[in-house]
């Protein structure tokens, strides 16, 4: 691992031997590199500050109760709102969670409790790959299997796409939090004559519960902000959804449509909707921190 060519070694020895002398150049280089590292940190944090600042500054003016409770209105008609988008996002993320939680948690339990099986290795690796997959590709997949066969864009298709995005996140966090449950707890339970399945359900899941909830919240946060797969599945709409089988609005979709429109009025509303979306993310992340705070063993990882 460590590079040990003779020439480099000589170089290192020469440099280090300077430590006994003045070593001024070395100290200057050290200071300069510290400066560069600090610059990198500043450059990394600046965009976050700028994004949050601009969204709050430009989003706040459109904020009002009617913005949250009204339906979108045509350009030029004041008083348009995002009620249907909020509702659509809520419905789709909700249904997606109903699909993704059982499968994700199940797979997570399998990865953590039967790690020695080959299926576990293969599936866990697949899960990692799936978690990093471009969400637009998942959108195409759901378009082909659902939208093409039902011949309509729908909330249902959107929910299925979001569930595929949530599943690997839930599986991974479930596995991690269950693996943190000490083996001795499992052994103690089984030594008392409790069967393995009861041990898993009562002891392992009971102990790792907060990690599980963290994972689900993380997945919900991710799904609530997804746009790309929804373009190909839910499409968006200006009406309130009356069934799961029709094009449905979602908050990120509305931000996208309004942002790329040429109308100042709609762009302003896009900032307002972005502020709401950021606020939702903030609340979800805050609850994640709270859940982690309760049990220190679950590491915070986004």
């Amino acid at each position: 691992m460590y590079d040990s060519e003779p020439e480099k070694d000589k170089d290192t020895v020469k440099r280090i031997s300077l430590a006994t002398g003045t070593g001024r150049r070395r100290r200057v280089v050290d200071k300069a590199m510290t400066g560069l590292v600090l610059l990198a940190v500043a450059l990394a944090v600046t965009p976050l500050v700028l994004i949050l600042g601009v969204v709050v500054l430009r989003g706040a003016p459109v904020m009002s109760l009617s913005f949250l409770t009204n339906l979108p209105r045509p350009v030029g008609v004041p008083g348009g709102g995002i009620a249907n988008a909020l509702f659509g996002s809520f419905i789709m993320v909700g249904i997606a969670a109903l699909i993704a939680v059982p499968i994700g948690v199940g797979a997570g339990i399998f990865f953590s409790e039967w790690p020695e099986s080959r299926l576990s290795t293969v599936s866990s690796f697949t899960n990692d790959v799936l978690a990093e997959f471009p969400s637009i590709v998942i959108g195409i997949f759901v378009y082909v299997i659902i939208v093409l066969s039902t011949k309509t864009f729908s909330a249902l298709a959107g929910a299925v796409a979001l569930s595929i995005i949530m599943m690997p996140i839930i599986a991974r966090t479930t596995e991690e939090s269950l693996k943190l449950v000490p083996m001795t707890l499992r052994e103690a339970s089984m030594a008392l004559g409790v069967s393995r399945w009861r041990t898993v359900i009562k002891v392992v899941i009971g102990t790792g519960k907060s990690g599980l909830i963290t994972g689900i919240l993380l997945a919900v946060a991710r799904a609530a902000g997804e746009t790309a797969p929804l373009i190909l599945t839910a499409l968006g709409s200006v009406y309130f959804p009356t069934s799961l089988n029709q094009p449905t609005a979602a908050l990120p979709l509305l931000i996208y449509t309004y942002a790329i429109s040429p109308f100042k009025d709609w762009q302003a509303q896009a900032w307002g909707a972005a502020l709401i979306l950021i606020a939702i993310m903030f609340v979800l992340n805050l609850s994640i921190k709270l859940f982690i705070g309760r049990r220190s063993v679950v590491r915070a990882e986004t």
């Binding site: 006994t20 082909v144 299997i145």
Partner: protein, 310 residues
């Protein structure tokens, strides 16, 4: 009672194993459906789809090269800018702040928060805030003084490869720096202590004993970041200008694989057009698959058993 317990064990294992099987099947059927969906286009264009430079929906001539080029160019800009910053952040969090865990935690959380911002908000911010600023204060000066350089020859409009690359750089920083941080934390302290005992400065320790040890892991983190950049859709779609062009000019509008799918999918008027767009997805699928498998492999080898996430 014993038999009942045994039955319960078998049922539980079967149920959760089914979930694990489902995940494997999901990836498999993803590939299958993309293949069958792009059937028409594969049959018509064959290999020339990948090297074709023309994308003309009206005459139904489809070549994916401009999108592949745009994806590669924007990802390259993103890595060029994002990688040094990410490594700097990781070095800061692990090497500089070892004693003050509080500040490291706050700064680390702030950088991680970048990952929590939905990509459509990056797009909105990039389109309506960043792109005019880049156009007026970066692109126009570069163009007016350096227009003889082919990279800057076009009159900038702000919606181009350059802006898309900058946005992507911002988006991949949390990924690369979080994974690199884990990698640097995993470098044994004896590596550092040996150097310090020889009288080395902080930077010499980082440069000569920490970074060489972590090299392959950081490479894995970089590949993971590349995967993010290649697959990112919304933010890029909103700032790249959506023009299928192959040019070295950074201030020219461009297109990426993901952006083309997001932008044209619902407008696809003919089966062949739709099929060509699905084939773009198929290309993206394979690129993402190769990148992710490679990154995971590097990271798994670096820290056997310890898994990474961004």
């Amino acid at each position: 009672m014993h038999r009942e317990a045994l039955k319960g064990d078998i049922i539980l294992k079967a149920v959760v194993a089914m979930a694990a099987v489902f995940i494997v099947c999901l990836l498999g059927s993803l590939a299958l459906e993309l293949f069958s969906g792009s059937n028409l286009s594969i049959a018509k264009f064959g290999l020339s789809f990948v090297i074709g430079r023309t994308w003309d929906p009206v005459h139904e001539i489809f070549g994916a090269l401009p999108f592949i080029y745009g994806t590669l160019l924007t990802s390259a800009i993103a890595l060029l800018i994002g990688l040094p910053i990410s490594i700097g952040v990781a070095i800061f969090l692990t090497e500089k702040l070892k004693t003050k865990k509080g500040i490291a935690y706050v700064l680390g959380t702030l950088v991680e928060l970048l990952a929590a911002v939905p990509s459509v908000i990056y797009g909105l911010w990039g389109l309506l805030f960043l792109s005019p600023i880049l156009r007026d204060y970066v692109e126009t000066p570069l163009h007016s003084y350096l227009s003889f350089v082919p990279l800057f020859s076009e009159t900038p409009f702000g919606l181009d490869f350059f802006t898309a690359g900058i946005i992507l750089a911002i988006m991949i920083i949390p990924t690369i720096s979080a994974v690199s941080k884990d990698i640097l934390n995993a470098v044994p302290n004896s590596q550092r202590e040996a150097m310090y005992s020889l009288g080395a400065t902080d930077w010499e320790v980082t440069q000569k004993s920490v970074l060489p040890y972590a090299r392959s892991g950081i490479f894995g983190a970089t590949i993971l970041g590349l995967g993010r950049a290649v697959g990112e859709t919304m933010a890029v779609t909103m700032v790249i200008g959506n023009a299928p062009r192959i040019t070295a000019d950074l201030f020219s509008g461009g297109y990426t694989l993901a952006a083309a799918i997001a932008n044209e999918f619902t407008e696809a008027s003919s089966p062949l057009y739709l099929s060509a767009l699905i084939e773009l997805g198929l290309i993206l699928f394979f690129v993402a698959l190769i990148i992710n498998v490679f990154a995971r492999f590097l990271l798994w080898r670096m820290m056997r058993g310890v898994r990474f996430r961004a």
